[in-house]
Symmetry: C2
Subunit: 129 residues, 2 copies
Amino acid sequence: MVVRLGRRLIAMEEPILADHGISMWAYVALSGLEDGPTRTQAALASAIGADKTRLIPVLDDLQRRGLITREADPADRRVRLLGMTPAGRKLHAAVRADIRAAEEALLASAAEKDRAAFLAVLEALDQGR
Amino acid sequence: MVVRLGRRLIAMEEPILADHGISMWAYVALSGLEDGPTRTQAALASAIGADKTRLIPVLDDLQRRGLITREADPADRRVRLLGMTPAGRKLHAAVRADIRAAEEALLASAAEKDRAAFLAVLEALDQGR
DNA sequence: GTAGACCGTAGGCACATGCATACGATTCAA
DNA sequence: TTGAATCGTATGCATGTGCCTACGGTCTAC
C-alpha cells in the first residue's frame, strides 16, 4: 500500500517539477540545503539519502544555473560548502507551493480532521530519521 | 519527505520478507490476489502496479512453491486465472502480521491518537486508487 | 471470413540506482 | 613523518524498472 502511495505521489510531482524545469533530485537537494546550514556535499548526500557520486551532476547543474553556491571551506581544503542563492530559494519555494497544493488536492478524499494528523505523523516519522 | 519515508518502510520490510523467503513483488502479488476474486494475470499486474512482463517469473516462482494456482479460464482460452492456495494464504498472513508489527513500532514515535488517523488517510488514498 | 485487439510469454533497450573502486588532494592521529 | 581516513570526482558493474517489440494462440466486431 505504501509503495503504491509513494508511486502516486511521485507521479504527481513529476509534471510539477518538469514545469519548473528541475529534476526530482535537484528539488530534494534544494530542500536539503534549505533545511539546514551551509553543508558539505557529503553531509547533504547523507541527509537526503542520495549517493554522493550521483549527486555530482545534480549539483553541477544547480550551480550552473545559479541556484546554489559551492565554495571551498577555508577550514578544510578538501571540502566544498554548499549554499542556496536567492534564485534557488525562490525556485524552491515556488515548486514546494505547487507540490503542497497538489498534495492538498490528493488528500481531499480524506476526512479533513485526519489530514493534520496525517501530516503530523509524517513529520514525526521524518524527525525520527 | 514521502520518498524518504517510503524508503524507510521498504528497508524495514526487506528483512521480514527475507525471513519468510519471498520477494517484495511476490508479497505484493499475494496481497493483490487476496484482495479480490480470482484474477487474470493482466488484471493483477494492473491492480498492483506491476509490469505484466516482469510479473511472469514472480508468478512462476509462486506457482512452483505451491502458493498460487494458475488455471486456464474455460470462458477465454487466452487467459490464466490466478488463485491463492491455503499455503499462500498462510504465508501471506504471517508476513503481513510481521510487517504490521514493525510498522507499529515505527509509528511508536507518533502520538497515539494520530496513528489511527494516519492509517485512515492511507486507506482513503489507497481506495481513491 | 477477416482484421484488429488481447492474453501470456520472452526478450531487448535505455535509464536509474546502490555499491564499489580509484584517484589526487587534504587532514588527522600516532 | 607516515599511514589511514576523508573529500569530491569519475567511472564501472550488477540489478531493477518502465516501456517496447514480437510471437502464437485466442477472441471480438464488422
